[in-house]
Symmetry: C2
Subunit: 226 residues, 2 copies
């Protein structure tokens, strides 16, 4: 359901930075995949290209079988809004909205009435332990609380695909386990989940791990996945 073929991502510079260097990757529907690797190895760049938030310099990207390069911006953003929940490494919350509305806005494209959007947002906030912070705005939240709002926003619509960039980096281990538990629940319900993580225990809990180094896939244990 997610395919990268011969993908290169190069940033201009002196010298240019080859953030991704000839990547082939296939993620099948319903998989749960950890992406690991040193800081700067290309993980976030990879996730942004997988999620069609960024275009490769070379190579092909296919989402649910459709070539991303062949889609209009309008169709692409609609496909993303309907199928992908994205947790960003830098959260990207709206400071002017409280936690509840930051999450509820993720349902705007779904033709769900405002009251129902807020009800579902409240439910997911409770699942990440933030019911008591629903009306705080991001500047009034701790780092880990903001991270959990970003997670809630990514999953409130039960998306078919979840792409999470270091979703527990600002969380204590117990809260982190709760969050990973939510991702496992979504996975059990059929979602395809890709998680960038620096936590070896989290990676070990997932059936498949892809290791990046210097923009290359260094290892991928899918061959051993039953």
């Amino acid at each position: 359901v997610l395919e990268l073929e011969s993908v290169v991502k190069e940033y201009p510079g002196v010298p240019p930075v080859r953030a991704l260097d000839d990547i082939d990757l296939r993620v099948y529907a319903g998989e749960l995949v950890a992406v690991v690797g040193p800081s700067g190895s290309g993980k976030s760049t990879l996730l942004n290209i997988v999620g069609a938030l960024d275009r490769p310099s070379q190579g092909d990207v296919r989402l649910t079988g459709q070539a991303v390069s062949g889609l209009s911006d309008k169709r692409l953003s609609r496909l993303r809004a309907e199928s992908i929940g994205f947790v960003f490494q830098q959260f990207h919350l709206l400071d002017a909205l409280d936690a509840l509305d930051n999450v509820a806005t993720a349902l705007l494209y779904r033709n769900v009435a405002p009251a129902e959007r807020r009800r579902r947002a409240a439910h997911v906030l409770e699942q990440v332990g933030l019911a008591h912070r629903a009306h705080h705005r991001p500047p009034q939240l701790s780092g880990g609380e903001r991270q959990r709002v970003a997670i809630a926003r990514a999953i409130v619509g039960n998306p078919a695909i979840v792409l999470a960039d270091e979703p527990t980096g600002n969380l204590d281990s117990r809260t982190g386990r709760d969050v990973i538990g939510l991702l496992h629940d979504l996975h059990a319900a059929g979602s395809t989940i890709v998680v960038i993580t620096h936590d070896a225990a989290i990676a070990a809990s997932m059936p498949r791990t892809v290791e990046l180094r210097d923009g290359h896939v260094e290892a991928d244990n899918r061959a051993q996945v039953p």
Copy 2:
């Protein structure tokens, strides 16, 4: 060298949020202290008050023996600039400057010539593994690279006190160990270091751990420190 007495920090709201609830804390010169606790327990708030970036609602704060409330803003910001290196949970880098200048600006108050500031900045960037990214600006850096620039900026002046808020949250374990190694080196050279961390292994490597929960000090193993 860092003292909090009966400190309360309350944010307005319905109901008000008591982020710190009657905290007594003493950190002695040359100590190495980990601060741990669940997300939202008050750690960042505590560090901001310890570093005089924020004023308590009640209680007394003393830095190097001087009551913070008795200092003018000018004297306070000079004391901070000369004695404290702060690593923020959200980094707070300047997007318009490259990594080298983000670090070099931390030496502005020291009457060091520009060329010498940049030389020292380059040295510390090398110590955090970012020599090859010296001329990238924050938007051109990965999450962990930005975190390392923030760390470099905090320590380039060899400050007497380092306050680090989750300095390894975006780093793989090997890079994280290198960074903690740098903090241990500074400590061995006499700095007082307080590190907020969610990493149990990092906390275990430090002689003293203060545990927060709901704005209270739940445990402090200083009594057992020889």
